[in-house]
Symmetry: C2
Subunit: 648 residues, 2 copies
């Protein structure tokens, strides 16, 4: 810190170094990290890929199957469409990747769709993007943990009754690991993530090899449960293909995560984040194409009982051997780890939104391990609540999922398109400083605008298909939730703005000095605590009034006698309380005094407060002092002073 | 109030008369009553009989049946024993009535077994009696409401799934009526209570009439379900008779209620209470004998499906006509109203126990309707919790019931026996003043002692039979609960005693005046609230230090600049916080100052507190002032002053 000390009134005081104790929290999340250590708490590309791509990559485990499910309605002959559809989805992935790389370079402080929309469209669209993304992050946690637990439960049916508890336990576990810091969670989850990648590439590689040498063959005894539902087949309409396409696009959820978490990367962070994103997209694209192509070749069928990955695995590896089991295990683990990406994205995005005063300020505070602990805990809490409400049922949660992220894709793409439009209308060499970035002339603006515009169009169509086709199954919740969240953001913003105005020192004249000081001491009895308070009141003013609310005449008579002896001649006012109320007569009295108050006069209520550390004291005493304080704190120009007196 | 005003320091101040608003509570329980109206809130014998006897009289509805249940094991031939057993039970009723009448005259302030045991045996036996009675009152509410709801549910099986909710609703309803005042609840419940009495006497009278004229006949198609269980009959052993006897004694629960609630009666209250008790016993005894005799005559059988009262009713009235239906309805209602007696007894007893410092003092406060509202609400709350835990199941609750009341009978009888013993050893005309009563020589002490001693013996045997025979079914809970409650009472007592010692002014010398006053203002920023606090601090002392905990260097630099302009030359100390903690460095700093404190120096922490009435403010602000206050209140000689500043 660089504080100039010329006027001699400022002291930089270093208290003895804080020594974190061996508390439960230290044991759980590690010793506190100093603010100065922030740059050590960043991650490189290798760990970054594990942290931010588990969500996107986990979709390899189910995207092909989702496409086949829809196509099944038109019979097995329609499955051939899956491979070209996979190419179209990968094409969309390319557009999204290119545009998010641009976003990462343009907005190196993260925020993705929220910041792009804020800079190019203004607050409200930005808040829609934020609401959509935050909702989707929460759902990512609930859905991915629930689906991981569903896999575990189908292996060990005895655990079925405890699925909600297990799921919430996993949410908490991943939450704790994330509270340890981004570097620590990255390290912890890197091994299973890379294990998944290796197993997937091994399977796809082995499958392609056997395909090229003609030894791939067909799935033995493919599960027929889904196919047998369709006695009468639909024709393969454009609408059906469109629905299959949008089901497949769930593979693209998670592509935006890196753009929200750029600040987690080591410097040069934009470059590191962009390279990680490109690597992620390459892996995702190739695995998606590989799995879809091979699944079609071996004749895998969509099924409730056996996943497409499992059918492909046992065909490629020729049975349920060790390699097959490793593929299945890796798939289960990555589904759970997908939640980790949300834990990396949600807290950073909510901190950005909170920094703009749309969420509670506390979400911008970094916790003892330099992560946004409150965001992490909020995510864990809300996701757990969702799991409990939906009883960890993937079927009931999935219709809510993916709408938010596609809405944010649309807004990000549209925002970038608008930005290229603006940049195309600058003169070469001109720069315009915007809220969060600098706008320069770009000679390729037209082609870039068209690409992003196309991206916006496709993703908006997908959003609408999601919202309409799943509306009755639960998507209506999201459709209602997003505007409600935006309304909440705006209310919070207005609250902070009005507060800041009320506290602002602009147009604040010097206030006159206080000359008169009236002190009122409410007393319940005459004891050591009362006398300690009285002694303190003496230092404040000579105008002291003790006030006693009389409920029981005998008590009052006793108090009166004691006051004679110990009251030091101070005026005692007795308030009769025919209805045995305590607070009301006292307030009425204080109000009467307050009405007669002169300017430059302040009223101080000195409350004798005996303090007991004994746990029983909370329910054995009436705590009238506390009640009084709560009521009086709402009154301007009345100051409450608590004089504590320690008792057993 | 009669306060002498000679020294001119005391002012009797009448604030404007308190006008109760039309609040929810006024609507529910009526406008507040002034303390001076207390004598109007007492009840006469007619209402008193309804309030205090519904518990005892309701046992007419099941006592005979309980005897027959046990005897059934020895076959129908054993049912003849029921009538002589009823006479023995009525004999015990006579002993108890005589002794409680004596208790009512000896202890006119109520308290029954608790006060008798306290005066004649000391605190611990008294607390055992109190614990036993309070437990039993709670169980009376849970059991009687659950059994009433069970009757309703057997009539309308569609309500079965909501039985817990209905039962809790009834607990709350009776609670609210009792909160309206004892007179009001008495009036409300008198009509159904007297309706029950009339129907019972009609039935017993009509039955006796038909018996005398030989037209009574036998039950048509009596239910055989219970009898058919016993293929092999037991012999009618003494143990079986003893068990049948103790089952029948459940009819005596509730006899003690009036002795706990004497203060509810109009003056002359002992006489009114005693006469009510005698009337109650006469009614109870004659109905019990009548029902048992007639049930035997008509050959009623114990059954799960149809009550003995129902069998008797349809035989006496010759079918299921209107009169029969009225009997059944009255019986259902009285079972629920039995709870009302507990609402009359529990709050009064707990207020007496609290007055002796064994329960929280708040239980001695009279609420706005002059009843002990906290006791009423505590009873309603605990009984509801029991109903939820035991799912309103009478079968699971009943084993816990009646042990407590018989334990209290034993203690009351034994206490009175001891008292007669003492009185017999005084000289004629001598009086001894005891804690709660005056002891006089009594020439009939020996016979009275023998009667009470016999009563103590019989009731103790019944207590033991209850505890042993129902131990496994749940009585163990009560056997554990009573000592735990006694332990709790004693802990509370010790807490109050130590507190009183700490606050006592005995041996308290005049404390020295305070000469130095150090003021510390923790500030988070420089705004209007800070300046208001600063202005106030100026009136306290010239030795003022503003303290800022620096978490973000940029924020601190801004604050420093503002302080230069607005800080009025006051010393500003900046505490660096490398771990982003707020409270800890501040506490460390205050401790450093505290260690250097001189005698006669006081430290005041002036906390600028902005106060927002907006509901959002509770979660939008970090509320560090509150945390600070909670931590600092535990430190001796540090005074906390909150200077409120109103914002939106």
């Amino acid at each position: 810190m660089n504080i100039d000390d010329q006027n001699g009134t400022t002291v930089l005081h270093r208290t003895a170094e804080y020594k974190p104790g061996r508390s439960l929290s230290t044991w759980l999340i590690g010793r506190p990290l100093a603010t100065a250590d922030a740059q050590h708490e960043t991650i490189g590309k290798l760990v970054g890929l594990a942290v931010f791509s588990s969500d996107a990559l986990s979709s390899v485990a189910y995207a092909t199957q989702e496409i086949l499910y829809v196509l099944a309605a038109a019979g097995m002959g329609a499955f051939g469409v899956a491979v070209p559809l996979a190419f179209v989805i990968v094409g969309l992935l390319v557009i999204l990747t290119v545009s998010y790389v641009q976003i990462i370079y343009t907005y190196p402080n993260g925020g993705g769709a929220y910041i792009v929309a804020r800079d190019n469209f203004g607050d409200r669209p930005a808040l829609v993007a934020a609401a959509a993304l935050l909702t989707d992050y929460i759902l990512t946690v609930s859905v991915s943990i629930s689906s991981g637990v569903a896999q575990v439960v189908s292996a060990f049916p005895i655990l079925y009754d405890y699925r909600v508890e297990i799921a919430v336990g996993m949410v908490v576990l991943i939450m704790i690991v994330n509270l340890r810091g981004v570097r620590e969670s990255g390290m912890a989850f890197a091994i299973p993530s890379y294990f998944f990648l290796i197993m997937m590439f091994t399977m796809v590689g082995a499958g392609m090899f056997r395909y090229l040498f003609g030894s791939l063959g067909q799935v033995i005894a493919p599960p027929q449960d889904v196919m047998s539902q369709y006695n009468i087949l639909q024709p393969l309409t454009l609408l059906l293909i469109l629905r299959a396409f949008s089901s497949g696009t769930t593979a693209l959820t998670g592509v935006e995560a890196i753009s929200n978490g750029i600040t987690a990367f080591k410097e040069p962070r934009s470059r590191n984040a962009a390279l990680t994103l490109i690597w992620m997209s390459l892996i995702l694209g190739s695995l998606l194409l590989g799995v879809t192509f091979l699944a079609h070749q071996v004749g895998a069928l969509p099924s409730e009982g056996e996943t497409v990955i499992s059918q492909l695995g046992r065909t490629v590896f020729g049975g349920r051997g060790l390699t097959y089991i490793a593929v299945i295990a890796a798939t289960s683990i990555i589904l759970i780890l997908a939640a980790n990406t949300a834990y990396a994205g949600f807290p950073r995005l909510s901190a950005l939104v909170a920094f703009d005063s749309f969420l509670p300020r506390q979400m911008t505070y970094r916790g003892s391990r330099l992560v946004f602990s409150r965001g992490i805990m909020a995510l864990g809490f809300i996701a757990s609540v969702l799991i409990v409400i939906f009883q960890a049922s993937v079927n009931r949660l999935i219709p809510l999922y993916a709408i938010g992220v596609f809405l944010s894709f649309t807004l990000a793409q549209a925002g970038m398109a608008r930005r290229w439009w603006k940049s195309g209308h600058l003169k070469a060499g001109d720069t315009v400083k915007e809220k969060g970035s600098i706008l320069r002339f770009d000679q390729h603006w037209l082609i870039k605008m068209i690409v992003n515009g196309l991206g916006a169009l496709i993703t908006s169509v997908v959003t609408i298909i999601f919202a309409v086709s799943k509306f009755k199954d639960g998507a209506w919740i999201v459709v209602l939730l997003i505007p409600s969240l935006v309304f909440m953001f705006l209310s919070i913003y207005r609250h902070y703005r009005r507060l800041a105005k009320d506290l602002s020192l602009d147009h604040y004249g010097a206030s006159p000095r206080i000359f008169r000081h009236r002190v009122i001491i409410p007393i319940g009895g005459v004891h050591r605590g009362t006398l300690v308070a009285l002694r303190y009141a003496r230092t404040l003013s000579d105008d002291i009034t003790a006030v006693h609310v009389s409920i029981d005449p005998e008590d009052t008579a006793r108090l009166y006698k004691k006051w004679d002896m110990w009251g030091d001649g101070i005026r005692l006012v007795i308030l009769e309380s025919p209805y045995r109320l305590f607070i009301e007569p006292l307030l009425q009295y204080i109000e009467e005094i307050d009405r007669k108050r002169q300017p430059n006069e302040v009223i101080t209520i000195v409350v004798p407060q005996f303090v007991s550390r004994h746990w029983m004291s909370t329910f054995l005493h009436a705590r009238t002092a506390d009640t009084l304080r709560k009521v009086l704190l709402n009154r301007e120009e009345i100051v409450i002073t608590e004089v504590p007196y320690q008792v057993y």
